[in-house]
Structures are given as C-alpha cells and as structure tokens.
Symmetry: C2
Subunit: 187 residues, 2 copies
DNA sequence: AGTAAGAAATGACAATGGTCATTTTTATTT
DNA sequence: AAATAAAAATGACCATTGTCATTTCTTACT
C-alpha cells in the first residue's frame, strides 16, 4: 500500500492503474546485512523500501565506498545498469531488516506503455533521482567535508544511530579518522 | 530540425506532435563568452545546443568551479531549479558561439500534458541526464584525477582545443597546476 | 554484571595536492 | 613578423588529509 500511496502523491492514479500496479508489484523481506545485488549482476528490479535501510556501495581496490543510503519510502536500484540491463558496478545491501516492494523492468515497461499516468510517474521519479544525484555531486564538488556531514545529518537525522561511521565517512569522501576529527568538539 | 531529429531518435513522433514541438520551440544565437543564466536567476528554459559549446559553473568563494560541459546535440538547463522554478546556484555561459533551441517550461508542460510520446521523451531525457550526473559522481567518488581526465577526453575528444585547462581542472576537482602535472610525461 | 568484540577517537608521521611565484609556451593583435 | 597578452608548465613550500598504531569507549552476549 505504501508504494501506491507514494506514487499517488506524485500523480493521482485511477483505480484501474492502481490495480494494475498492485497486481504487478511483489514484496520481499530481507534480514539485516543481506546483499541483494552484487557487482557484476544484471539487476532487473526497481526497489521501493517500505521499511528498513539499504546501502549502495562500490569496491575500490578492496575497500568499500558508500555510494548512497536509502530508507523508508525511497526507491533504489543500480543507477548504472537497470534500464540498460547491463552488469552493474555496485553492490546493494541491507543495513537493517527490510521490507521492500519490487517492480521488475518488464512490469515497468508494460505499465509505461499502457498508462500515461505511469509514464509521468516514471518521468518524475527519474527527475527526483536525478536531483538526488545532482545534490550529492554538488556537495562533493562544492562543499567541505564538514558541510557535507551536516547536510547528510539534516537529510537523515537518524543515520548516526543506524550506520557505522566508516560507511558515512566513505560516503563523504573522507576516511573514518578524518570524520572522527571533524566531529570532535575541537573544530 | 536537429532538436526534432534528436527527440525522434528517442521516441518516433507523429506529424502532429512534431508540428506542436516545432511550433513551440524557439531559436537563439549567442556569441562566445555570453552568460545566458546567472546564479540567482529562475531559469524558465530548457536549452538544446544545436552548435557550439556551453559550460555550467558554480562560484565557490570567488573561484569558479565547472559543473559540466555540454556540446552539440545535448540538452542543458539548471539542474537544481528548472522544474521547481526556484533560483539556481549555477551560471551557464557559452564558451563558443552557440545556436540553441529553446523550450520554455510552460511549453514543455503543455506538451507533457497533451502527448504521451512527449511524456516518454521527458522520462528518457531525465534518465539520460541522471546517467550523466551519476557517471560524473562515480568518477569523482571512485576514480583518480588522472582516470577522470582520461574519461573526459574520451567523452569529449576535442575538449582540449576548445576549453582552457583551468576550466577542465576544476571540473575534475583539482587545480590547474595539478592537472598540468598529471598531463606531463613524467607520470 | 562481567567479559569480549566491535566501533570510535586520538596521536605520530608521511604523502598528496594546494598555493604562490616564476618561467616558458602558445595565441592574438597590430 | 613583432609585440603583447593569455595560457600552461614548473618549482618551492605548506596545509590538509591519509595511514598505521594505540587507546578509549560502546555494545552485545553469556
């Protein structure tokens, strides 16, 4: 229901469309620390997180670097290979137990073809994802690590209690030690 | 014609839609080094570059930092305020004389409402922009400056002849001096 | 509650990349 | 073609951040 409700906030849906989405959507549950997409996989699913927290990361010579966090009522998938159906560079893992609604690419394409409203939903979701990524890029290009840390906190106020610092540090583009220093009261 | 042709490659258009787009599109020409969007402006236009080269940048305590380059057959607008119609943080300037096709947000919204095909075009363009930005973010997060430099060159092979190094360096997230050292044969 | 394991903080040192100044190269104008 | 201006390269020095090692703090488990 929450997926429908979220979509409905973007574009009001007729009953017919709503039923079609409901019919095609699947539901998955994962325990904590489960890798749901592996680097090299061709990911065929768009994930909508009903509850829990998920992290996308990249392995750069042995170290993992966080690409993004996604929580309740947010979408996620592999940004570099979902629509094109090519192997991704990223991993996606749960950081907390998750309940996730899933739409396959085939279902999506069917919905896009059939319903103009869903075409619009797709446009708006793509736009929102683009804005997310653009904000992240902006913060990496133009802000200091400390500013980025504060931005992250205001976007996800609970993140400190949910995620170890190292994952946050790599998201910010710094090491855990530097983040630790930024956080310390002496500056 | 080039705008229509580019759109038509994304989604084949009926004559009716084609005429509608043609009717609403405007054409602008700018000389070199013209600022077409200022930071603080509310930008009401989507630009399609027919010929020339354009740069988006951000002023960070007095220094300008390149956010992106866009050339022939590419779209550009302010990524942070076009759809929401809020003041942008960015500047857009021509680096070469440009001929640009323009669609206003009102025209776009009209086209989105009226034609399902254009809704799809919007979805696909948003996706393409998202992919661009995601690639850029990826390169900043996960690649070395040298790798980023090489990626940029393979994407825009002619860029070195068209843009001063300083603008490229800031795009890569380094200073002009460091870029100069990266380029030198000794490493 | 006590212990062990994991996470975070801190210190010392090194390396990378930035800043500023200067020189060399390339492009532009008359 | 010479003169001037702009861009790029180079060198010396410094600051910021990373690395590695160690200590302190927090959390989970029996």
């Amino acid at each position: 229901m929450s997926l429908i409700r979220t979509i409905n906030e973007l574009v009001p849906l007729s009953d017919e469309v709503r039923k079609d989405v409901e019919r095609l959507k699947e539901r998955e549950a994962y325990p904590k620390n489960t890798t749901i997409v592996h680097s090299g996989d061709v990911c065929r699913k768009l994930y909508f997180i009903e509850s829990g927290l998920v992290r996308t990361y990249y392995l750069r010579d042995g170290r993992d670097v966080t690409h993004s966090f996604r929580g309740e009522r947010e979408f996620t998938t592999v940004i570099d290979g979902f629509y094109q159906q090519k192997p991704t560079k990223y991993f996606i893992e749960t950081i907390e137990p998750c309940v996730i609604s899933v739409l396959s690419l085939e279902s999506l394409n069917y919905l896009f073809d059939k319903h103009k409203e869903i075409e619009r939903v797709g446009r708006l979701i793509n736009f929102n994802v683009m804005s997310e990524v653009a904000d992240h890029l902006y913060s990496l290009q133009f802000q200091t690590a400390k500013d980025r840390y504060n931005s992250l906190l205001s976007r996800y106020p609970t993140i400190l209690k949910r995620v170890p610092l190292g994952m946050i540090a790599s998201y910010l583009g710094i090491t855990q030690e530097t983040l630790s220093r930024i956080r310390s009261p002496h500056s």
